[in-house]
Subunit: 353 residues, 2 copies
C-alpha cells in the first residue's frame, strides 16, 4: 500500500481528519514469522477499495487464444472438448517460456556467484470464452480448470529436473496479465521456491513447538472465531488471514487434515474447490468492482522428500495497492483495512447473492 502522507486523493483536506497516534498493529504471520502492519489509524471503509479505473485492454490487439493455430501457438499438451467437438479448455506450452525443457541444470557460476540454467516447463491453461473470468463460468467449467491443474501437475511432477510446480492466475493488467483472455499458468522449476521454503520451515517449526499442524490450528481457530470467515463448504474454508499482506487477501484452505500434496485432491474436492474459488472471486468482483488480482496454489515440493506438516492451499491477493519503498525494503507489508472488516464485507457479498 501507499505509505505516503494522505493528500488530495481524499475528498476531505488532510487537516480535516484528526490524526490519531499509535493505532496501528503489527501482526505476525503464524507460519512464516513475517510481519505485516494493519494501519488502522489510516483505516478505510471496505467500499473505499472499490476499483475506480482499470487499465483498458487495447481493442486492436488480436486475442492469441481464440485461434491457436493462426496465432502460431505450440501444440496443446491437454485438450478438453465440448460435445460439439470444439475445445472448452486447452493447455499449451508458453511460446516464450521463463523455464523450458532442456538438459539438467548446468552450472553457470561466476566468481563467488552461483547460477544454473532455467530448465523446466512453462504452460498456459486457457478456457474457451475470451470474456468470462473464472467467476463468470459455469461450475463445471471451473471444475475443469482445477482438473487440468491436477492433470498437468501429475504429468510434470515426475520429471527429473522438476523440484517445484507453481500454478497461478493473473487477472487484469495491473496484476501483470498482458492478455485479456482468461488463463492460468504453470511453471515447473528446478529449485524449491523461497516462499514455499519459508512456509515449510515454519510449519516444521510449529509442529516441533506445538505438536500440531499449523494449518489445522488456523482452520480450527478461524472456524471457531468466525470473524475472518468468508465462505465455507464441505471441503474448504475461505477466510481473510489474520496477518493479511494486502487488503482483502483471501485463503482457501482444505479441511482434510492429511494432505500436503495438491495432486492428491479427490474428484469431490475438485468440485468443492471450484465452488469455493468461484464464490470467492465473485465476492471480490461484486464487492470491489472487478479488481485485478493474483491467485496461486501452494503445495509441497515434488523433490522426493516428504512434507507431513504442510497443507496445500490457495492464496488470493487482490491488487488493491502498490508495494512501495517500505514494503520492498523491509518485507513488511502495510494494509489499511482490518482483515476482520474485509471478511465481513466479502461475506455479505456472498450472502446477498
Amino acid at each position: 500500500m501507499n505509505i505516503e502522507i494522505r493528500d488530495g486523493d481524499e475528498k476531505k483536506p488532510a487537516q480535516a481528519k484528526k490524526p490519531t497516534d499509535s493505532q496501528s498493529e503489527l501482526r505476525q504471520d503464524i507460519i512464516t514469522g513475517d510481519w505485516v502492519v494493519i494501519a488502522t489509524g489510516r483505516a478505510k471503509r471496505p467500499d473505499d477499495f472499490i476499483t475506480k479505473e482499470r487499465i483498458e485492454e487495447d481493442p486492436n490487439v488480436a486475442d492469441p487464444f481464440v485461434d491457436l493455430v493462426a496465432s502460431g501457438q505450440k501444440e496443446p499438451v491437454l485438450v478438453y472438448r465440448k460435445p460439439d467437438g470444439d475445445w472448452s479448455l486447452v493447455v499449451i506450452p508458453n511460446l516464450y517460456p521463463a523455464f523450458a525443457a532442456g538438459r539438467m541444470p548446468k552450472d553457470h557460476s561466476e566468481g563467488p556467484y552461483f547460477a544454473i540454467n532455467g530448465v523446466g516447463y512453462h504452460e498456459v491453461i486457457i478456457t474457451r470464452d475470451a470474456k468470462k473470468s473464472l467467476a463468470d463460468l459455469e461450475l463445471w467449467q471451473t471444475a475443469e480448470v482445477v482438473d487440468a491443474y491436477q492433470s498437468r501437475y501429475s504429468s510434470l511432477m515426475t520429471k527429473k529436473s522438476v523440484k517445484y510446480i507453481q500454478i497461478f492466475h493473473n487477472h487484469g493488467k495491473e496484476a501483470g496479465s498482458s492478455i485479456a483472455h482468461p488463463h492460468s499458468q504453470l511453471m515447473a522449476i528446478p529449485v524449491v521456491s523461497p516462499y514455499i521454503e519459508l512456509q515449510l520451515r515454519g510449519a516444521e517449526l510449529y509442529y516441533r513447538n506445538h505438536k500440531a499442524n499449523v494449518f489445522q490450528s488456523i482452520l480450527d481457530h478461524e472456524c471457531e472465531s468466525g470473524v475472518r470467515r468468508v465462505y465455507e463448504n464441505e471441503h474448504f474454508l475461505v477466510f481473510c488471514p489474520f496477518a493479511s499482506r494486502v487488503a482483502f487477501e483471501l485463503w482457501i484452505l482444505p479441511k482434510r487434515s492429511d494432505n500436503p500434496y495438491f495432486e492428491r485432491i479427490t474428484e469431490e474436492e475438485k468440485i468443492s474447490l471450484a465452488d469455493a474459488l468461484q464464490k470467492t472471486l465473485k465476492a471480490l468482483q461484486k464487492g470491489l468492482g472487478d479488481p485485478p488480482y493474483n491467485f496461486f496454489l501452494n503445495t509441497s515440493p515434488c523433490d522426493g522428500r516428504e512434507y507431513p506438516h504442510y497443507r496445500w492451499h490457495v492464496e488470493i491477493l487482490p491488487k488493491t495497492s502498490v508495494w512501495a519503498g517500505f514494503e520492498l525494503s523491509t518485507g513488511i507489508e502495510v494494509s489499511t483495512i482490518e482483515p476482520e472488516k474485509a471478511a465481513e464485507y466479502l461475506r455479505e457479498q456472498i450472502q446477498s447473492e
Copy 2:
C-alpha cells in the same frame, strides 16, 4: 515482470520472433540465497525499458509541502535553512503514521496468533523545490538529504521501542508516491524487518563458510570483473547486482570494510554518497526516461546487538515491471534483461554526461 505470453504490446506479431528454448538462467542471491530468473530467451534491449507513459499528478491537488503550516502539518523535528532564512530541507512527523510514538509494544494476541501495537516513528524528509528530484538538485542539497538521514537516524536509534530504522524514497506514482513533491521517509519500528534478517543471516553464514565478509567479496569481484559496474568514486561502488530482482536494479556499496552501521558514515563519505546517488539517479532519468523507482538504505538493526559481518548500503529498484502471480507466489523474480547489459547501458549514460 510480466510472465505472460507476449502479445500485442510488441510491435511484431508473436509468431514473427522465433522462440528459443532454455535460454533463461536461475541466479542465486549470494547474500540471501534467494533465486531470480534472468529470462534471456525473452530478452529486451535496454531502450525497450524507456518509460512510455507515467501516471500524471492531478494538477488540482495542492502541494501539502509548499506551505507546511497552511496544510496543517505537524511541527518539524529538523530544519535546514538557506542564507536567506527560508528552509532548504525539513523533517516532519507523518500526519498519518504507520508507526507512532506510544507505550512499549503491547501484546494483542488472539488465539494462536501474535500481534503487538505499532509503536515507533514515521517521518518525512522534504526538500524545498517541488519540482526537482534528487537527481536534479545541486550536490550540496543532496548531501543535506544524506545528512538529515544520519541526523534523524541517530536521534531515533536510542529510543527504547526502536529495533530497526528503515529510510526509503519513492519516486513517481507507480512506485507508490502519492505526493509529487520530492520527499524521503523514515520509519523506526519495534521489530527487525524480515528482509534485513535474511541478509544478516546470509552474511553470518557466508562468514562462517568463507571466513570473509560477503559484501567485500561482492565488492572485490565487481571491481575486478567490471561488467556490472556503473559508477565508482572514492568511497562507493555502484553496480547492477548479479542476481538483480528487477531490470536495472542498482546497489550503492561503501568501500569502507569495517562499517555495518549507516549512522557512522563520515562527512567525506556523505558527500561521496550524495555524488554516487545523483550520478546513478541521473543515469536512470536520462537512460530510461525518468522511470518511477524506490530506493532504500539497508543497515544493521539498532537493537543493541553487534553485526560485524554486515555492511550498510543503498538498493535502488526501478519500477520497470509488475510483480505478478509467479513472483508473488514463489518469491522468485523474473527479469528480462541481463544485469550486465543494464550496467553497460547505464554506464554509457554517465560517461556521455
